[in-house]
């Protein structure tokens, strides 16, 4: 039996009405009078911040939480207002959202898709959250995005770098401010070409799960396009902490670049151990051996310490970025917490503001109206420079930063430097790109819940 998605969605509503004889069934929450899930009725509106608070990414989650608290303060007119002053859209005025005071609840994703969904459900069902924001892995992002689609609320992903989030798993109710593996590769390739030339042989170590594969695929494609050869791609178990048996054969393989498609603890360990193996002191094929880490984050850099020196990677945002929005945000964040924000913190901060702004422009909390307001939205002044939320796949398009580990960092926050700001035109791709689910991938229909 063939059927298309559209009719199924339509039927869903009639099905729900048909079952009304039983107990006025609505999806997720009751409130039979509501037009959409968790429509705010009082003087408050509740946002749900779902970040890892336990497990290996707890610190990343803490930083996201800090930024989100700051955003709530700014929305409510407390503090110095941060990016509200620099934001190109002027719909927000520091009186909450549509006159409602912004409050928030928090959940612990534990960086597990099950736990993340449980936490999100709890915020939706129990606390009446109108949107979910944050997270620190692609598995969690895709899982929670699917949940929010079913529940009928807006989801804004935190740190998620996999192509799938806005690729084959894209959803109408979900948006991503973060960049993705394809963009990393497209931004890195020219810089690598300039620094290391076109005649290089790359050895990939790849974390053996979905994100690792898409990352490796993207990097291999764009480096091969400029003439590099991929010698070998070795998959490493996610649970691995000792990479010696994967790193040891690298030097003798004829490769002269090692690409570490690892994230978080995997990356800290594999980079540390690769440096310990002396790879960066060696010469192969008459060239200096180099290491590349396609995805950087401040916390990973801090974890890897001095080992990042001279290693290229890419980032969504960095506090050293010199534009008005970035300066306002860094000042506001730095004065409150005594440290510069991480790039996932900036992502979560910007997303809260963007959500609030979209509500204000739409004049409604209805997720469908909000999604419509966000689609194709172009803005500036939140730290990343001119930015577009593409309507076709809800992926954010903006300049991508290529970073390099500093040789002599002045302090613990100064481990990376910006070597290149890759203009957005260079990292663009069509929405039906084969790495992003091809022509089959659809956003589906907007779901307002009730």
């Amino acid at each position: 039996m063939s059927k298309n998605d559209l009719t199924r969605r339509g039927v869903l509503k009639t099905g729900a009405v048909a079952g009304a004889g039983l107990a006025v069934p609505t999806i997720f929450t009751a409130g039979s009078a509501r037009a959409f899930t968790n429509e705010p009725t009082g003087s408050n509106v509740v946002l749900g911040f779902n970040v890892p608070q336990t497990g290996p990414y707890a610190d990343e989650g803490m930083d996201e939480l800090r930024a989100q608290e700051l955003a709530v303060q700014h929305l409510n007119g407390e503090g110095d207002g941060g990016c509200l002053a620099t934001f190109s859209s002027k719909a927000l005025d520091g009186t909450g959202i549509l006159g409602k005071k912004v409050t928030f609840v928090t959940g612990d994703t534990q960086t597990k898709s099950d736990a993340a969904r449980a936490a999100a459900k709890s915020m939706i069902e129990k606390d009446g959250a109108i949107m979910i924001n944050g997270g620190s892995s692609s598995g969690v992002a895709v899982a929670v995005q699917g949940l929010c689609q079913e529940a009928g609320i807006i989801f804004m992903a935190g740190l998620t770098h996999s192509n799938d989030t806005t690729g084959k798993d894209r959803k109408k109710n979900g948006f991503r401010h973060f960049f993705n593996a394809y963009m990393s590769a497209a931004a890195l390739a020219p810089v690598l070409e300039k620094a290391y030339g076109t005649d290089r042989r790359a050895y990939h170590l790849t974390a053996d799960y979905t994100w690792g594969w898409t990352q490796q695929e993207s990097i291999a494609a764009s480096t091969e396009a400029m003439g590099w050869e991929t010698v070998e791609n070795v998959l490493t178990p996610l649970a691995a902490t000792d990479f010696s048996s994967y790193i040891a054969p690298v030097l003798n393989s004829g490769a002269d670049v090692l690409v570490l498609n690892h994230y978080g603890g995997n990356m800290v360990n594999s980079l540390t151990q690769a440096v310990q193996f002396g790879l960066r002191d060696k010469q192969v094929n008459g060239k200096n051996f180099e290491i590349v880490v396609p995805l950087y984050s401040e916390l990973m850099a801090a974890g890897a310490g001095a080992n990042v020196a001279g290693v290229y990677g890419s980032m969504n945002y960095n506090w050293q970025l010199d534009n008005e929005g970035s300066k306002a945000f860094v000042k506001s964040f730095g004065e409150k917490y005594g440290r510069p924000p991480s790039n996932s913190a900036q992502t979560c901060y910007a997303q809260v503001l963007l959500y609030a702004d979209a509500v204000a422009r739409a004049g409604s909390f209805d997720p469908c109206a909000v999604a419509e307001a966000l689609e194709g939205f172009q803005f500036d002044g939140l730290g990343n420079g001119p930015t577009l939320y593409r309507a076709e796949d809800h992926q954010c398009f903006k300049d991508v930063l290529v970073m390099k580990g500093k040789e002599a960092p002045a302090n613990e926050f100064d481990l990376l430097e910006i070597v290149d700001v890759t203009p957005v035109a260079q990292v663009e791709y069509p929405a039906d790109h084969p790495m992003f689910g091809g022509a089959e991938a659809t956003l589906g229909e907007c779901n307002p819940g009730a």
């Binding site: 336990t54 497990g55 290996p56 990414y57 707890a58 610190d59 990343e60 053996d208 070998e232 070795v234 998959l235 490493t236 178990p237 649970a239 902490t241 000792d242 010696s244 048996s245 994967y246 040891a248 054969p249 030097l251 003798n252 603890g265 800290v268 360990n269 540390t272 151990q273 310990q276 193996f277 002396g278 002191d281 060696k282 192969v284 916390l299 801090a302 974890g303 890897a304 310490g305 001095a306 080992n307 506090w319 050293q320 860094v330 000042k331 730095g334 004065e335 510069p340 002045a410 302090n411 926050f413 100064d414």
Partner: protein
């Protein structure tokens, strides 16, 4: 040939960490009959001794440097370690540089005390309780230890680099007559291997050649009889618990440069070390060491490209596969005794 040698070397190196942790676990099983799920946490606490010392030595006062700016545009506060101020820049810096080896001196007493307190305060009350209760209470303790460390040091890994004298690698292949870059190995990993051999030999010598060790070995075989001979075996077992904790801590402190410590590193090793102990045979010290090195080598062999292309994913499951095969063919592991932990 060189590739095989390289993976054997790798395996020995991996195995030395497994063997050290399994040795400590077996000491506790063998002597006290307690399933200690907090053993991984002790390993982690050992690694954090290195971090603690590094931070302690790096304790700094702030100098405001007007010429530089911090990220908010305020004058930069430059951290100046007291130790460099007291001993002069060069000596101070090299003391900090050597913080990991120095941390051994800190780890031994700290872990002995932790082990002693743990045994007297907690484990002692669980000798007569079912193993399930022992698991629950030590697992609870492991979580508590982890969370305490997380509270003070955060969840992110922290680097504890080896002294610069041990940085970099040596080309062992050249020494053996292979071509350059065939077998390149980090110096610190070779140090770790040697260190673990020394510790293992030390523990065995202690048990083999001292009166204390003789009594403990006798107690492991038949606790009641030794007790009836008028020997206070409990006190000796408490000390053995402290020694086992110290072995775990030493394994951790020296591992810190290889694997930047974070609060859950113990849990990552816990399952693996239990597998090692069981494969070696419960209560058998030589078995634990043998199984540690053996599984290290097999794990390394399974992660070669040849193995992973032959059987995809073999590197993910090899340890467990070996455990299953060993346990089915040799009921009590490689060198286990009858009747230990079989109830």
């Amino acid at each position: 040939m060189d590739a095989i040698l390289l993976q054997i070397l790798n395996g020995l190196d991996k195995g030395s960490a497994y063997a050290l942790i399994a040795l400590g676990l077996t000491l506790i099983f063998g002597t006290l009959g307690v399933v200690n799920f907090a053993h991984g946490a002790l390993f982690m606490v050992g690694a954090f001794c290195a971090i603690f010392l590094q931070r302690l030595l790096g304790t700094s006062f702030e100098i405001i440097d007007e010429t530089q700016k911090d990220f908010l545009g305020n004058p930069l506060k430059v951290q100046a370690p007291y130790i460099e101020y007291w001993f002069g820049k060069d000596i101070g810096a090299s003391i900090i540089d050597w913080s990991v080896p120095l941390a051994i001196l800190l780890t031994i007493p700290v872990m002995l005390v932790i082990g002693y307190v743990m045994e007297r305060g907690l484990i002692r009350h669980f000798y007569k309780r079912p193993h399930a209760d022992q698991i629950l209470v030590t697992f609870g303790l492991a979580i508590v230890l982890q969370e305490i460390i997380k509270y003070f040091y955060g969840a992110n890994p922290i680097q504890a680099p080896e002294p610069s004298a041990f940085k970099g690698s040596v080309d062992l292949g050249m020494m053996l007559g292979f071509q350059a870059n065939a077998i390149v190995y980090p110096i610190w990993r070779l140090v770790y291997f040697a260190f673990s051999v020394v510790i293992i030999a030390g523990v065995f010598a202690f048990l083999q050649f001292t009166t204390f060790g003789m009594v403990v070995r006798a107690g492991m075989v038949d606790r009641e009889t030794v007790g009836m001979l008028g020997i206070n075996i409990d006190k000796r077992f408490t000390i053995m618990f402290g020694i086992a904790a110290a072995v775990a801590g030493l394994a951790g402190v020296m591992y810190a440069p290889i694997n930047a410590p974070n609060y859950h590193m113990g849990m990552d090793f816990l399952v693996l070390s239990f597998v090692v102990v069981v494969v070696g045979g419960m209560g058998s010290l030589p078995g634990a060491v043998l199984a540690g090195f053996l599984l290290g080598i097999l794990e390394s062999a399974a992660s070669t490209t040849w193995a992973t292309t032959t059987i995809p994913g073999i590197n993910q499951i090899i340890i467990y596969l070996v455990a299953i095969i060993v346990l089915l063919t040799r009921p009590r592991g490689l060198m286990g005794r009858k009747g230990v932990m079989e109830d």
